[in-house]
Point group: C2
């Protein structure tokens, strides 16, 4: 086995995604080190309200996961009382693993954290949709200028490698259009409505199951999907769009009658995020759409996500997989670090 | 734009796949050079019966495509009367693009060509299933020893990036099982049989359409799919299997009654290539299989191919796309060269 490359990681945010990432390192870190020649070493963790910690010798993922069960990182060796920005400014690391909460209005404070890390010459990998949707062009340019990697795999379809498929595996093709089921909550609801159930009924169930939040607006009005459409447009088609350019509607007006009518015509309702070239322009749209049941996206049921990429040389290429989950999204962050290692 | 890297290519075989590759360079070569920073320059082409050509200054893809319409490369500047092995031994190139016919019994003469190119320190990219199915372990070891790239994307699902998805984008995951629809001819036939047509009827149609050969054994008995199962086992699960280890049956015994019976149970017949870990062993099988219509592979209709990859961290990831075609398979070769460029 060749020598291992050690990446010192600062983890910003230690909610579900950060914990999923730490679980993978705890359970699979040894295997990844053996197989990929990469040792992923957490040296710092920042949270906004549960303390920060920095230990240049490395912090065992298991210790972090145990500590967070107690509600705080403050009893760990190297615990500090500071905020994430201070930690980014003061510790020594190679990669910022950005997993703080998404804000699709302002993209803050995550954008500031990412910018600060890039300015320090760190690589950044993030599962945060805010900075990726609203600030990708600026942040990617800064990363390029600094000669570092800016990975965003986890922002669409969680760890299912939609971004890497389009950017790397399909390099050489011209992508003209992307259509995706990129919001699992609404896809779950639409799938359940095919059993004849009402919108209110399936929404209540989705909330009980934890798929939908108490205020479900972000999902059911299409805003979450619009953020992802914007990411697809700006990352894969270099569109330079802003969020208000995404025509957005949701699933709130879909009735059991509409579902029945579609079924009678051999079709299914899906909330489709669509991004496409129209002349020199790139357009982006989120809308409930009737698809023939034979369409590759029509068969995607439940919380599963999917993306259909239309290319010149291969026609349609469709990827189907998990669209959420702490381990699946944590994997996206691992996967971005492995990609930066392969490419560097 | 950064400087372009020039790759000098020797193309071995100039049938459908080689011509698809040349068409892409003719039509998209400039765009690929601009966008990927890679100039793909054909300097030599070998065929077994239509002549060989070597021109260190480069051979325009359009000229090659025009010449082959006349049935021979012998009027091109730099035409030679020699065989492929002599050309590999004597010309200066960086990459062997191996696109000669597949032989799943002996993997020859392609294995000898690939070995000779690797021994010379050339990278090799191939769409040839023979050497990949039967000799992958040996050839990959030789490539590693020589520090060069051995790309095989085109051997499964043509240019749809199944191998790159599993090897690169899913790196860090443990793959426990792969199930695929990897033969378009039989999938077309099974899809047509769902309309109530007989096996003989749809086979005759597939032959008329050019999907099936005059002797359809390789497709309908599952041998082509078995070769691909072997590739998946050996490349993605390091199985070290031989072809006789693949349990193989085809679709010849599927009757209209069996199709109707499956439909009544909410299922569809698909010819599934399956590779999976069983304890320390890797097993491989090709068999007509009934899948529930809700399964991601059940909705894959016509000549389209698909691969469902079962992983520990992401669950099932499914890729659907073209499984054949000269341009789609030619793209696999382009894609492998772009990958070697990214990784080097």
């Amino acid at each position: 086995m060749a020598n291992k490359t050690i990446y010192r990681l600062m983890l910003n945010g230690f909610g579900a995604v950060g914990q999923g990432f730490a679980q993978i390192l705890r359970d699979q870190g040894e295997r990844i080190a053996q197989r990929e020649g990469v040792e992923l070493q957490i040296v710092a963790v920042a949270t906004r309200s549960r303390g920060c910690v920095y230990n240049p010798a490395g912090i065992a993922p298991a210790a972090l996961l145990d500590a967070i069960q107690t509600g705080s990182l403050r009893d760990l060796e190297g615990a500090r009382d500071c905020d994430p920005a201070e930690l980014i400014a003061s510790v020594e690391a190679d990669v910022l693993v950005e997993a703080s909460p998404t804000n699709l209005q302002t993209a803050e404070p995550a954008t500031s954290y990412i910018r600060a890390a890039l300015e320090r010459g760190w690589h950044v990998v993030t599962a945060n949709k805010g900075p990726t949707a609203l600030r990708y062009t600026e942040l990617k340019a800064l990363a390029d200028q600094k000669g570092v990697f800016f990975g965003i795999e986890g922002t669409v379809m969680s760890g299912t490698p939609s971004i890497r498929l389009a950017l790397e595996a399909l390099a050489g093709c011209e992508i003209s259009e992307l259509r995706g089921i990129v919001n699992g909550t609404t896809n779950y609801m639409l799938t359940q409505m095919e059993q004849g159930r009402t919108y209110d009924d399936v929404l209540a169930e989705a909330q009980r199951l934890g798929y939908a939040e108490t205020d479900p607006t972000g999902d059911v009005e299409g805003h979450d999907a619009a953020g992802k459409a914007l990411i697809l447009a700006n990352v894969l088609l270099n569109a330079g769009l802003t969020l208000d350019a995404v025509e957005c509607s949701g699933i709130t007006k879909i009735t059991p009658e509409a579902v029945t009518e579609a079924a009678a015509a051999g079709e299914r309702w899906k909330l489709i995020a669509r991004v496409w070239r129209e002349g020199e322009q790139v357009r982006a749209q989120v809308a409930a759409t009737r698809l023939p049941v034979s369409h590759p996206l029509a068969g995607v049921a439940g919380v599963t996500n999917a993306l259909c990429i239309t290319t010149d040389l291969l026609g349609d290429v469709t990827l189907i997989g998990a669209g959420a989950g702490s381990v699946a999204t944590g994997f996206a962050l691992v996967s971005d670090i492995l990609a930066l290692h392969r490419l560097s």
